[in-house]
Symmetry: C2
Subunit: 457 residues, 2 copies
């Protein structure tokens, strides 16, 4: 008998799962029906700031696979412009609205995958939904920003929030020639970084001409007579603005699941087990809307990142296709750049380590990405967090220039294996003058961390 899999959400997690399940089960065994309320499938949401900034010319370059490709090559019935508005987990049905036609229909499912993604956090202030204030989570959002840039020729942008998306969008606006103001409630950009590294990010942003307003809360949006944003009101005065972008991060878009009685965890993501099953029979979740497990903190977390969504989608698809696969959790690894400055992190920062119950020992080193005598050796600063006593690596954060940031992957792999900093300092990493000093900065950081742990006793 043919089973039916319904997928809610046509981006990374949803379509990875659908494709993976299809590889294991043909259409005679498994019918796959995917609903996407936007216009696109399987696109690189993380590429949106670079598209808006003009580094990528065509929107379609961000689309890994269009709906018709899923239909024609994989017999996956993808319906864009269709929003699932309700789930009945007892009857095993979803109610779907065709957004263009305004019509609703019900569809039964045997298995349901919720992959509804994340939604931008909107500070709860008056006017935040005004025209001219943009989130940038989807291609549709991105297109709206580009249309606004073209039609209104704004000169001044305010980015509200200096998380990853915030600083990427600040760079995009700068590249588009706008005067850029960034308003951030915390005392530093990228508040999950330790202050020492956060201060360096702030310096880098200022050096490239951004105006930072740190430790400043947004209090409201003022609009002109046409209803379009005119200024952003903050605790420290009013910033005139022609366009505003939300860079305050996201929350799991788990509302639909919650309304259907699917359990939501402490991080606001949908609760799943290692196979991406929710506690409700026949209901699965993957990607930004789902909660996952932080391997170092040993706590549930929700992290909106394409790479995690893809991995979880694959795991869900393998299981939905009748195989077995388990998602082993995350480390909170992240990377970005702001112009020439590269920034990355993995594991726990100092405060997060404390919050998770560890006694952290921190150490910071300054080094170079190549042998100091080799042309274009760039600076790199690495801050490590290790556990007092055991010396177990708990996290690393780094900032530098070309060649710096991807070194975080070595720390991530060490963290994944619960290595101590003493073990890490002897790992046989690659060395040649064009690529690193004779002691790679990762090893120097581990040495310094090991010394710090020993001093602490």
């Amino acid at each position: 008998m043919t089973e039916r899999l319904v997928v809610i959400g046509g981006d990374a997690a949803g379509m990875s799962a659908a494709s993976q399940a299809r590889r294991l089960k043909g259409p005679e065994e498994l019918e796959i029906l995917a609903f996407e309320r936007g216009s696109f499938t399987s696109y690189a949401a993380c590429g949106i700031p670079y598209w808006i900034g003009g580094l990528i010319d065509e929107r379609d370059e961000l689309v890994a696979r269009a709906p018709e490709v899923f239909r024609e090559r994989q017999s996956i019935d993808v319906r864009t412009g269709h929003e699932v508005v309700a789930i009945d987990t007892d009857a095993r049905t979803v109610v779907v609205e065709d957004l263009a036609a305004g019509e609703r229909t019900a569809h039964g499912y045997d298995q349901l995958l919720i992959a509804t993604g994340a939604t931008p956090l909107r500070p709860p202030v008056p006017g935040i939904d005004a025209d001219g204030v943009f989130g940038v989570q989807t291609l549709d959002h991105g297109q709206r920003v580009l249309d606004a840039l073209a039609e209104r020729q704004p000169r001044r942008a305010v980015v509200i929030g200096a998380g990853y998306i915030g600083i990427e969008m600040a760079e995009a606006m700068l590249l588009r020639g706008l005067e850029v103001h960034v308003v951030e409630m915390a005392e530093q950009p990228m508040s999950t970084l330790d202050p020492e590294i956060g201060a360096k990010v702030a310096d880098a942003m200022r050096r490239m001409g951004m105006h930072l307003h740190l430790g400043v809360a947004v209090e409201g949006i003022e609009t002109g007579e046409d209803g379009w944003l005119r200024a952003v009101r903050t605790a420290e005065g009013t910033l005139e603005a022609d366009i505003a972008v939300l860079g305050t991060g996201t929350r799991p878009f788990s509302d639909l699941a919650r309304d259907a009685g699917v359990p939501i965890g402490p991080s606001q993501g949908i609760v799943t087990d290692r196979r991406q099953r929710t506690p409700v029979e026949g209901v699965w979740a993957a990607g930004d809307c789902a909660e996952t497990f932080h391997r170092v903190a040993q706590q549930p977390v929700s992290i909106a990142l394409g790479t995690i969504a893809n991995k979880q989608g694959r795991i869900a698809g393998l299981n939905l296709g009748g195989s077995y696969a388990a998602f082993p959790g995350v480390l909170g690894t992240a990377i970005t750049k702001v112009c020439e400055v590269e920034i990355a992190r993995t594991g726990l920062g100092e405060q997060a380590a404390r919050d998770a119950g560890f006694a952290p020992v921190v150490a910071t080193i300054d080094g170079t990405t190549r042998a100091h005598y080799y042309p274009d050796a760039k600076p790199i600063t690495i801050r490590t967090v290790a556990e007092q006593g055991t010396g177990r690596l708990l996290g690393a954060q780094l900032i530098g220039e070309e060649g710096a940031a991807k070194r975080i992957d070595t720390f991530a792999t060490a963290l994944w294996n619960e290595m101590t900093v003493e073990e890490l300092l002897n790992v046989d990493l690659s060395y040649a003058p064009p690529f690193s000093p004779v002691w790679d900065p990762v090893l120097i950081a581990a040495r310094r961390a090991d010394s710090a742990v020993r001093r602490h006793g």
Copy 2:
């Protein structure tokens, strides 16, 4: 009572050990006497090709610490131009020749560290010691090459052997404007790479204008009336040459130890334990002259690399200073570039895996260093070797362009921890479009390897 440590060899391993021991024990406890037959201490031998190629202006940029700095700041009595010519391990003395004065003196020791480095392999053919044929292991060697370039204005270089040093020197000669011929006995450059990757290295070398003579043995050196190299005779004809460089690799320079009865292992390096002690009481060895342990092959190996020499020197120094430290072995990680092409490896290639008794499953992927739609995404090819059945990662080799090669460190850290390719494919590596596709090429390679292992069963 003051003990005396004698160090033979003033480069990476020897001086790292001396410095480390000094940090733990002051001059009243430990007298440190170091003999170096050359003119320099603690220099970056790996930087020599880039200095010869003109990327680094000043020889002194390669010197991390000059002899007088060791003397003045660390009370380490370094004597350059002094060659240790004999060791008496019963009497605990060394005989030292002052090379300038031609005088020999004997010096007692309580502890002796042998750090005599490596020596270039010279094909045993007539004329190989002729003027105009250069090894490039030491700064003194490098200076001789630069002097020859300046004085004789050579137009045609033959590089004998296409190992790491060979291809780096080929690039250096190209950068100096010479016509470059590379003669290699194996059918590919860098013969420790699997043929698939080796062929790509050969393509890259040809693209930049080098003339490759692969599968060709050198049979002799012809000299002119002045005794200087005139041509390199090979099995396939005679190559006229104004200068020749040995790029055939090195062997541990363990002759002095062997003559003194210190055991030499199967890889021709001095046998040591994990603390860098030789089996002879009071005698230690570290660096290129010493044998070490390959963690994947579980066999003794000798690898001449500054990063290993530095690490072993540190370990020896910690132990000589009265602390405890153990060197945990190597993975055979190596990295280099030839012009824009980056090459790296770690662990075992396919044949080496077979030789070590593993049943290898190989897989190769082609990817990009950044998201494919991001500007300057560069190609990267990764070949993995995994163990049949268990799926344990055994090695990885890669070739690509900017941003490719340092990814080998992630594989090295995974290998160090004996991860399977299935474990590796889910590791939370960093992702953002300027730094990687949503599945980093490392993860794509692990996925492909995992599929290959499953297919093999």
